[in-house]
Symmetry: C2
DNA sequence: ACCTGAACACCGTTCAAGT
DNA sequence: ACCTGAACACCGTTCAAGT
């Protein structure tokens, strides 16, 4: 007989729930994520998740916060020969993240009342800091309009890429847009300097 | 006694459902829109909606298609002294739409498989045509990278504005971004011409 | 084109009583 | 920190039999 000591207590149910939820998120989207279904998949009782999350929203909050943390990590690792190229690389990274995890991206930026995501908010703010820092490197001092423009541009590319309409952007188009935007940023910083 | 001839047949249940659904969408978002709840609000039986919509997805599809049609209408009415100002006005219109109907905007651009929205797709494609036409007026011939850039920029502003994070854009910032983008579009069209 | 009413397989959430 | 098991108030969806 094998030593399948079916554990009475689950090893790390919290992590197992988050992991299973990440998969479910990419398969069916945030709307149809079910706590009971996750419990079934993991072989625990339907109310076991409530030992780790107050309710369904708390699980979604944790997933969302985790998503922002991973996005920040990815942005931090973007590299480029020049500052402008690094900003372009950050843009590519942002879009690539949405492309790789569209369900998670949708969850992160879903319009819900912000009070339902207390854990997410500080992590999201921290993520935006990396975009700010990158732009500051290019332009010297940081123009808030530049920050808003680049963030909106990159977020728009991501959202249009992640959604399911036939209208989404091709990867080559995304590269062209981000490259041109980074170039424009450098040119204006030369003029105004 | 008043003549409240409580109608056995509802006057126009289809329109009444769509109207009630639009309200519910803005109150609680797309996820928690319930057919049974709509039926209750309208005083009809819980399965009456199935006379007009095959299922819940069909109702969401109809709402989404209607949303794109209204957005197209609004974009068409954008005016400006110059072509560039008209493009900027279209950008403002797009963002204002998301701002006025965040629940509907979220529904329209939610990542679901496109097959679940057959009615929406052609109307969405038609909407994009108005952005294309506006840009063509500014640049003479239409650069696909310009189209993609402006659409992504405006969509990103809208999405960040419509979502519930503390990070959203202020209206003054949105005006600054769209104005500068339109200006940049004009300047490059002069250089390359 | 609606109604009533029952039914099925789901949900999230909360108990009570166990180990 | 889990379990079983029951319970409550919801869902979407599909019947059957009416008007």
């Amino acid at each position: 007989m094998s030593d399948h000591t079916a554990p009475y207590h689950h090893g790390d149910l919290r992590q197992a729930l988050l992991s299973a939820a990440r998969d479910a998120l990419e398969r069916n989207g945030p709307a149809s994520l079910s706590l009971r279904d996750l419990a079934r998949q993991l072989g625990v009782s339907h109310n076991a998740p409530y030992r780790h999350f107050a309710d369904r929203d708390a699980l979604l909050d944790a997933l969302s916060a985790e998503g922002f943390a991973r996005l920040a990590e990815a942005l931090q690792q973007a590299r480029g020969a020049t500052a402008a190229e690094r900003v372009a690389a950050m843009g590519q990274t942002y879009v690539a993240f949405a492309d790789a995890h569209p369900g998670l991206f949708a969850l992160m930026f879903q319009p819900v009342d912000a009070t339902a995501r207390p854990e997410t908010q500080p992590v999201a703010a921290r993520t935006l800091e990396f975009l700010r820092a990158g732009i500051r490197e290019v332009t010297g001092d940081e123009d808030p309009v530049d920050v808003a423009t680049l963030w909106a541009l990159v977020h728009g590319l991501s959202a249009l890429r992640a959604n399911a309409h036939q209208l989404f952007m091709e990867p080559t188009m995304i590269r062209a847009v981000t490259a041109r935007a980074a170039e424009a940023l450098v040119q204006r910083s030369r003029v105004t300097r």
